[in-house]
Amino acid sequence: MSNFTRRGLIKSGATVGAGLAMPTLITSPVAAYTNAPTGGSVTLGFNVPQSGPYADEGADELRAYKLAVEHLNGGGDGGMMNTFSSKALKGNGILGKKVEYVTGDTQTKSDAARASAKSMIEKDGAVMITGGSSSGVAIAVQGLCQEAGVIFMAGLTHSNDTTGKDKKANGFRHFFNGYMSGAALAPVLEARYGNDRNAYHLTADYTWGWTQQESIQAATEAKGWNTVNNVLTPLATTDFSSYVAPVLNSGADVLVLNHYGGNMINSLTSAVQFGLRDKVINNKNFEIVVPLYSRLMARGAGENVKGIFGSTNWHWSLTDEGSKAFVKSFGEKYGFPPSQAAHTTYVQTILYADACERSGTFNPCGVAEALEGFKFDGMGNGATEYRAEDHQCFKDVLVVKGKENPTSEFDVLEVVEITPRAQVEYAPDHAMFAGGDLGKCNPGA
């Protein structure tokens, strides 16, 4: 970029209007991509909910990001960098540049999230944005990053659409999705509850809820279950009693709660209050299923989660080397075990850094190429692959249930089964994911 003299400033000040007419001539012609780091450091943008209902998950994501930055810069015990199958990272930042970061508040609103991400890109020169705790936000920010020409490493987003109809070449998701939840849960549910079941779905009435419900219904019906009803509940509902009450007389013997966060806690609490779990219907014990679990959130439901099945991306009680290393360095730093949100964001940061190292550039196109089809291990989920076709990670999925006798406040879930990757995999053009177009990677500038 050229430096202007004072005289030059006056001149160029006067020609701003003209400059606008031919911006491409003047805008930083040197860089080949947006926010190419120039000094000795590189800036990452951590965009997480810090206010609103998911603030605690956001806080946990932020902890993981800080930990990842520390590890990348050679601090701490290195965490999962030691167990990671790729050894490109050397603990000297990324490509020799010290990793710095900026944070922002998504407020779990797509507008605010995009504003925050834009400020990171436009003001702070962030070369990668990561984070988010809901699918709406993740998809909105992913779209923005595609336009702006930076990489987006999605945080907690579970909707099929993120890597389905809304997939983008600059966006990558490590977290699992609704389809995988269904595919992982259905066999376990069949094994425990049999294949002659009548399921009643309560579904959050927005995109994520619908895709999740669709996935679970398809997966369970394939096992012989019958879907009695699917009732959509408004997002703003706080008291689910009026939705739970009709379940009793519907003839259903399983209730599936396609809710997340506060909705999940409240609907589950209502369901338990109404004594659904004590009922015997069609000579079968009535059961409740929560397809997507968040340990942080499940704590809010207290005793009510005990024995209830669901799926999760990762859990701290896993005993593989990667998980152990991560839990150790996170736990020693913060005093409690990490959540799945923390795990996925940590992994995403390391994966991004590693891709930069391997491709030798921060250029989004180079990074994307390095990530596409990348196979790795040692990050807590076993052998994993970033599929090139849709930028979705394929890995094992955990089926968990609420623990009956927790030993501590963090000990809410126990892993019932690790569903192997093969079982949750699907074709890139699967009907639930169809319609999107990855497009071309955009380096911006």
């Binding site: 603030a55 706080t238 209050q273 809010g300 439901a301 736990g331 020693e332 963090f410």
Partner: protein, 354 residues
Amino acid sequence: MIYKGFDGTMDAILLQILNGLDKGSAYALIALGLTLIFGTLGVVNFAHGALFMVGAFCAVTLQKVLTLSKISIDPTKTDFLGNPLKVKTPYVVEWFGEGTGNAIIDWNVPLAILVAIPIMLLVGYIMERGLIKHFYKRPHADQILVTFGLAIVIQELVKANYGANPIPTPAPDQFVGSYNVGALIGLDASYPYWRLIYFFFSISIIGAVFAFLRFTTFGMVVRAGMVDRETVGLLGINIDRRFTIMFGIAAAVAGLAGVMYTPINSPNYHMGMDFLVLSFVVVVVGGMGSLPGAVLAGFLLGILESFASMNEVKGFFEAIYLPSIDQIIIYLVAIIVLLTRPRGLMGKAGVMED
């Protein structure tokens, strides 16, 4: 689908009535407090939802206090990092023994009522004397801004202390489970104990407030003051002092509603905001300044909301191209009521119409 016939429908209707009364209880209690403050002081209190939340967090705090624990190390077990496990024994259990101690912790929510009453009265008192007092003569817009600011501050302080996630605050074990209310009238409809308690509790609070206003001298003066503040002031009665107390009572009503609500839904820091807009709708549908109106509208909207979530009702509205009636029922009813009855169900002319 298994159809259970007419009986099943009756059961469902009974359940939804109960649900409606239950939801309505919460609406009515909050709206009652809002109306008390509005009617006596002429202040639009956007911090009222926050008071409800503070009440709920009285229960949370009491639970934290009761479970304050002595930490001892159990070398035979390990925690998630492989270190010896720290075992927590609540002091209450230490002092009163396993049985009594745990029972006290278990009865946290009912106990919290006792704690919440003085706290909420005090909170109300401080709020009125310290802040609201200076806003009696200011435009409603200023009142909204300052109380909204206060609500944010209270909310953020709670969030800073307790985090953003809901905190489970269960009812005593004795009240877990449900009671077959339907059996009383030959139907089959079980309803959770605690929700029944919540309903009866609200009814008694509402009754107590009305009785208080109706049958005590204090209440009569306040009611007179609601009608004509200046005249009562001229009679040499210190109406301001009474209004302060009224504010304290309104805060206490909101707080108790919050305490009792905790077992129904785990409280979090923004539960007040979730209720705020709804309770304003309730107050306005009831008619500004009318206490019976607020209570009536609370129950009415609660019941309508419950019915709107029934599949049969949703199906019916879907058939007439009004899908997701449960998303909009409250607002739709509000619009219909306000268009047919200019001042809500029981509102007085000239109150907050300009």
